[in-house]
């Protein structure tokens, strides 16, 4: 595939980008943040879910816009930072990169495929965890454990939950 045909494919994908109503763009991230701060209090077993990350991955994949992806990632990350006791920017940088890369993938692949979504969510969860660990280690000097096996398992669980969530969020898309 030469550059011109690749560019053509990208343009076709970009034209397929999903659109959402304004209230969806406001309510879904807010709901994800509320989920993150409220639900694990009563259902501790749901503490493994990183709902803001799933929302970032979904919007980035579906918008197929790198700028949109990094914007939603940065905003969600900073909001999550604000509600945790980490310094501002830890989740921000992390989710900005996730959003950017997810949007980059979305431009090139058919992200309506459920299996592909599963794989991408799993991959981005791992990427998110590893990047956070590196940043915490390098920038904050924290001696956190590198729990790759745990992350693999949690990544799989998040991916499975993500498939259902994405299916639900697909219904909130504006019909063109």
């Amino acid at each position: 595939m030469d550059y011109s045909s690749g560019r053509l494919l990208v343009n076709q994908r970009e034209r397929q980008s999903s659109r959402y109503r304004a209230w969806v763009l406001f309510a879904v991230p807010l709901a994800a943040l509320l989920f993150q701060i409220s639900v694990p209090r009563f259902f501790q077993f749901l503490g493994f879910l990183d709902m803001p990350l799933l929302v970032v991955v979904y919007f980035s994949l579906m918008w197929r816009s790198q700028l949109g992806g990094l914007a939603v990632g940065a905003l969600m990350g900073l909001a999550q930072d604000s509600l945790s006791h980490d310094p501002l920017g830890m989740f921000g940088i992390d989710k900005t990169l996730v959003g950017y890369f997810a949007a980059s993938v979305g431009v090139r692949l058919d992200v309506d495929n459920a299996l592909l979504r599963l794989v991408l969510t799993f991959f981005f969860y791992l990427f998110h965890q590893c990047l956070y660990w590196v940043m915490a280690h390098a920038l904050l000097g924290r001696q956190a454990a590198f729990e790759i096996q745990r992350w693999l398992l949690l990544g799989l669980l998040n991916a499975v939950v993500g498939i259902s969530l994405f299916h639900f969020l697909d219904k909130l898309r504006e019909s063109v």
Partner: protein, 444 residues
Amino acid sequence: MESFLNRYRNITVLLLVIFAQLILLAVQVKNDQDVRVIRIWTVTAVTPVARVLEAVRGSSVGLVRNYFMLHDADAENRRLREEVGRLKIQNIFLQNQLNTADRAKALEVFQAKTPSKMVAATVIGTGASTGAKVVLVDAGSASGVERGMAVVTPDGIVGKVIASYPTASEVLLVTDTEFAAGVISQKSGVRGTLKGQGTPTCKVDYVPLEEKIEVGEMLYTSGDDRIFPRGFPAGVVKVVHDSQPFKEILVEPSGLQHGLDDVLIVVGGVHQEIPPVPPANQPVYIAPLPPADQKTPAAESDAGAGAPNKAAAESGTEADRLRAVYKSVGDAQNHTFGEGLPGSKPPDFTKLPAGPVPPPPAGAGAHPNPAPANGAPNTPPRPATAAPAGTAAPPNPAPPGSVPKALPKPATPAPAGTAAPAKQPDAQRKANQAAGAGPGGPGR
């Protein structure tokens, strides 16, 4: 140039955003200060919704949970379902109100008893990072809450405020790895530093090996950290190990034992004395003393016996009673137990005083006649049954050379060639009991 910028626009924006956040991060880490504006915006945007959700959840959970209870009641009382349901829903509502009032009252009583000035708050959420030991409470700087204030419940310390916003505050729980507080043990006054581990238990650091601290001992805040006033319960010691260079002590924090719904934030701390006894959290029932004139069955059975038996009964055990009986026999025949060579004449144990005789042990392998405690020969007082010659020995054989007096007639003599019964037949035992004898044989 324009096409170049157009081509690398996205990556340029990405780098700018990342760079800006790195600067933000570096400023915070270097100055050890927070960028409060962003946090205030987010918390102010999120916490009102969280509070509404919490209120809806609190009322709906109670209603739904109790609805199912009502559903069971409906099954039992179908005819009265509507009427009972309506009344029960009213009752549930009032019960919820009452529970809330009870909780508030408990906090109020604790507030009144504690000299420190405190503000009540409700937990409305947890920290956003996964696995965080941080909670959000609905009292903020508008209520006088500031960063660094202690958070407690009547059960003990809960954590400390790490950020205060107009409508809410962030509380770092005692179980967080970044939490630390000065504590002192109740009994020995050993000081240490309570630290969270990210698990339900905390550890106490910096306790020298020579200090003595016991499992079950209560720890209180020492006031050294200038966050927690002295005298608040911190936890109970669960594990103590000697380690290097300090003791390894694990503590169960007492403030988190009964869940975390309502808390008190100490806005004006006052040091208190360490209480001399740990707070009692479980009532213990102690039965009243028995009446003074009540007799035990064993004492009643000994009531008709002679003086030795009476003394033995007073001493309590079966072995003591038996010892007293044998000693009285020896005394009557001028025999001193423990003297005399083997083969010398033993006391005549056929002249036992009247009274109950202990039954032989039922175990086949066990020796049927326990020796008296003073070393007297192992001689039975009398056989329970007489076996004809040629049969196996009964469990209580007569001693060689002794002539049994007033031997009871066996109720059912064992036929020749058969083993003697190890136990008395029921009929004979009942007859003996009816005649006033003890369970081991007929009375004299």
